[in-house]
Amino acid sequence: MADYIVDARAIHKHFGALHVLKGVDLSVAERELVFVIGPSGSGKSTLLRCLNRLEEPSSGSVVVDGIDMLDPRTDINHARQRIGMVFQSFNLYPHMTALGNVTLALRKVAGKSRAEADALGRAALERVGLADRANHTPGQLSGGQQQRVAIARSIALEPRVMLFDEPTSALDPELVGSVLEVMRSLRESGMTMIVVSHEMGFARNAADRVVFMDDGLIVEQGPPAAIFESPTQDRTRAFIGQIQRH
């Protein structure tokens, strides 16, 4: 167990009568990059959100960096600082500058002074190549830049794991590259990452493992080459065929 930085076991999630996750196990080693693919509605986002408890699993266990995320005694706000999350729709705070976005949690949760937070925030913006955009508001940034600020907002807290939920799906095609570039450099710095995305090219040359989900279950998983070229399950084959035709 100590080998895994994320260890989720037998996760079930019900939304009323809807059974969305039907017993998912997902263990991720330190420095591993796990790609999660699957049809829309298969439960990928819900699974990610169960890992930082934005969604309360109906049953199962989630341990991240040794912390039992579902234990009511766990200081969840403290634990969440170790788990960065990047959303499809960026979710930047529109009333703050890029630097304000990045430093908010540093000041409010990590307890940094404004000067410390600003220095860390600028360093994080530097890492995503946006040092010169610190004083711009989200409305003044392109989608790709906004998503990179969102990544900076997470990495400024020095998380142990980063969760990406379709980080490039809302972007114009020409802006996807800059975001993937940042993700690649994060990977090279040794960040553990769980990525829900259909960027197959990125998966092929960056992922250690690809997990295929369908209907609330992990159907098949393995190295990218195995999953993409020689899937063993019909459902995986059908899905891979579909997205490659696009």
Binding site: N77, R80, N91, L92, Y93, L104, K108, V109, S154
Partner: protein
């Protein structure tokens, strides 16, 4: 009767008969003498001014306490505790449906039955503050719920507590959306200070109407109207400025 100018008291009829050639002129004179009588105005100016002071005091108290109470209720409501929310919704709907005048009268005349005797001033303040609280709670609440769910999620995922997310991320965005409807509603309810006359509050309208009955002349009422304009026109203009200033820029 047919020749009589509307609004001119009949007592002046014989004067008009004596000066037939300047009929138009004297109708104007009589109009100004009736509605803008300098002597009457000068005499009652101090009364009107003291009414202005009372109206300003009342208005400020209503705006500050009403908006504050409305905001507190909206924040409480966002905690999503069922019984508390039912209570809030009940109170808000109650004060949004009762006419303000009815609330003022209930508090003023009903208070003594409960062993408290609120003054007219306190009754009016309390009533209008409760009405503003009710309307502003709904507006604040609509603002809070209109902020995209992703804003909460981003904030919470970086470790902000519910309260921190609410105050630092959601509320500032909600307030921007609420400024235009809030200023309109605040102005409308604050003008209701005139209802205080019914419970003997000596605000502008109260002073003006008692001056009018003492002088048998409507000039004080004109002064009262002017006082309302001087007080509220800048507020309305400021509200318009705030509306454009706070228009959502994304």
């Amino acid at each position: 009767m047919l020749f009589r100018t509307a609004g001119v008291p009949p007592a002046h009829d014989h004067e008009r008969a004596r000066r037939p050639r300047s009929a138009a002129m004297s109708a104007w004179d009589r109009f100004t003498e009736t509605f803008f009588n300098g002597k009457v105005m000068l005499k009652y100016l101090p009364d009107i001014l003291s009414g202005v002071v009372v109206t300003i005091e009342l208005a400020l108290l209503i705006v500050v306490s009403g908006l504050l109470a409305g905001l507190v209720l909206a924040l409480l409501r966002s905690l999503a505790v069922r019984p508390i929310n039912w209570l809030i919704i009940f109170v808000v709907d109650l004060f949004r449906s009762l006419p303000p005048l009815v609330i003022i009268v209930l508090i003023y005349f009903g208070g003594p039955a409960a062993d408290i005797s609120p003054s007219g001033f306190v009754s009016t303040w309390l009533s209008l503050a409760l009405v503003l609280m009710a309307f502003s709670e709904e507006i604040f609440w609509a603002g809070i719920t209109s902020v995209h769910k992703g804003q909460w999620e981003a904030a919470r995922s970086t470790g902000l507590s519910f309260g921190q997310a609410l105050l630092a991320v959601v509320l500032p965005q909600a307030l921007r959306l609420t400024v235009p409807p809030l200023t309109n509603r605040t102005i409308a309810i604050t003008k209701g200070t005139a209802l205080g006359t019914v419970v003997a509050v000596t605000e502008i309208l109260g002073e003006a109407s008692s001056a009018m009955s003492n002088s048998y002349n409507p000039s004080p009422l004109m002064m009262g109207a002017a006082a309302y304009l001087v007080l509220f026109l800048p507020v309305v203009v400021a509200a318009r400025w705030i509306e454009t200033r706070f228009a959502w820029k994304r």
